[in-house]
């Protein structure tokens, strides 16, 4: 499974554990994995890998991000209702568990790649050359909401430039 569009951050107190996991994630799963030192300085990734101590220290940060957090454990420990990965087992067991978890993650992501009706509307206006302010006026929404829609459209389609979005819209009969 190649997941090079998936970004992950590893936050653990054990440097060797972090280095080993990064090596697995990038070599076996082709993932863009970084070792972080604190959550605040990082760009929000798709998945956090953290140890139990980090979870305890920054519970307030990780609870709302439960869906994208995987807690590393040593032994079969149940970490409330968070996803956990036992790292005190053999390499192939770790890879198998990771594979299953990442597959679920990808399916969840896949379900959310279709554009909503509102996003199609925003895309149509972008493709017909409107700037954010005009889109906001036309749809009676705030500029911030327009920006959120644009960000979601770019994430879902993987297209950043206005020209790219315009050609996509033309290819799909949106304009």
């Amino acid at each position: 499974m190649v997941m090079n569009s998936v970004k992950s951050i590893i936050l653990t107190h054990d440097t060797l554990e972090a280095l080993g996991l990064r090596c697995l994630l990038s070599n076996v799963f082709g993932m863009d994995a970084h070792i972080g030192d604190n959550v605040a300085a990082q760009v929000e990734p798709d998945i956090y890998f953290i140890d139990q101590a980090t979870l305890v220290e920054q519970l307030g940060f990780f609870l709302p991000r439960k869906a994208k957090t995987i807690v590393l454990t040593h032994g079969d420990v149940d970490v409330d209702d968070m996803k956990s990965l036992n790292v005190a087992v053999g390499e192939s067991d770790i890879i198998n568990s990771l594979n299953a978890m990442l597959e679920t993650h990808q399916q969840e992501e896949h379900n959310s790649t279709a554009l909503s009706a509102r996003e199609v509307e925003v895309l149509r206006l972008i493709a017909s050359g409107r700037i954010n302010k005009e889109i906001a006026q036309e749809l009676s929404i705030s500029i911030n909401t327009v920006l959120t829609h644009r960000k979601n459209i770019t994430t879902k389609l993987g297209i950043k430039s206005v020209s790219g979005l315009t050609f996509y819209a033309m290819m799909n009969g949106i304009v």
């Binding site: 389609l157 993987g158 297209i159 950043k160 430039s161 020209s163 790219g164 050609f167 996509y168 033309m170 290819m171 799909n172």
Partner: protein
């Protein structure tokens, strides 16, 4: 791959990453490299070994960017390399992609409007790239080279790679690749579609690597030199 040094064999470098052929070509080295090492080739072609290995290592390893070493090279050397890179795009890469696109469109089993739109998107990106290349050739490169003759300034003063604006050309190439790979519909010759994607991907890699040299090395030098003029 481990970092390239003066004892590395050219054949092994190419076997490890065939896209280095195009970089070697910019230094006048063609295929049929025999068992020549980097040092041998540099001697034969009158190339500065340090500059050559730094450029190759930067090209091969995404994470390798020896800012300090690159700042030590003369502006003329960097400009010469970037000019050759631009020539390579104009003479080889862009015509190659165009050729593949023409085949892809003309040999589609039925008219596929998606392919025509993708070609238009490519043409738009190409015209921006050509504008940049022309302005490099006519304004930026001569300007930087001239000011270097007048005064060699402290480059570090202006060196700040962080304020480089997002590159529009890189974004458009990314989008083109993404649309081709993720969103392409309709009938087309799969083999020719693959050829277009590979050709655009190789342009993407080259532009990204060279933008690092443009934006993080030549631009700060150019800024330092123009500040020195004031």
């Amino acid at each position: 791959m481990a970092l390239i040094n003066s004892d590395s064999k050219l054949s092994e470098i190419i076997l490890h990453d065939a896209s280095t052929i195009t970089v070697l070509d910019r230094f006048g080295i063609a295929l049929g490299v025999g068992d020549a090492t980097v040092a041998d080739a540099c001697r034969t072609h009158g190339i500065d070994i340090k500059f050559f290995t730094t450029i190759l290592n930067t090209y091969i390893n995404e994470n390798y960017f020896p800012q300090e070493a690159l700042e030590q090279f003369s502006v003329a050397e960097i400009v010469d390399y970037l000019s050759k890179t631009n020539d390579y795009y104009v003479q080889n890469v862009l015509p190659n992609i165009e050729r593949h696109f023409s085949f892809l469109i003309s040999r589609a089993p039925s008219h596929n409007n998606n392919l025509v739109l993708m070609r238009q998107f490519f043409d738009e990106m190409k015209s921006e790239l050509m504008q940049r290349i022309n302005s490099d050739r006519e304004q930026w490169f001569p300007q930087v080279c001239n000011s270097e003759n007048e005064a060699r300034c402290n480059v570090a003063r202006a060196a700040s790679g962080d304020d480089v604006p997002a590159d529009v050309i890189e974004d458009k190439i990314d989008d083109l690749i993404n649309i081709l790979i993720v969103h392409l519909k309709g009938d087309y010759d799969h083999n020719l579609g693959y050829a277009v994607v590979v050709a655009v991907l190789s342009l993407k890699k080259d532009i990204r690597q060279n933008n690092r040299i443009r934006n993080r090395i030549l631009r700060p030098i150019s800024q330092a030199l123009s500040n020195g003029d004031e």
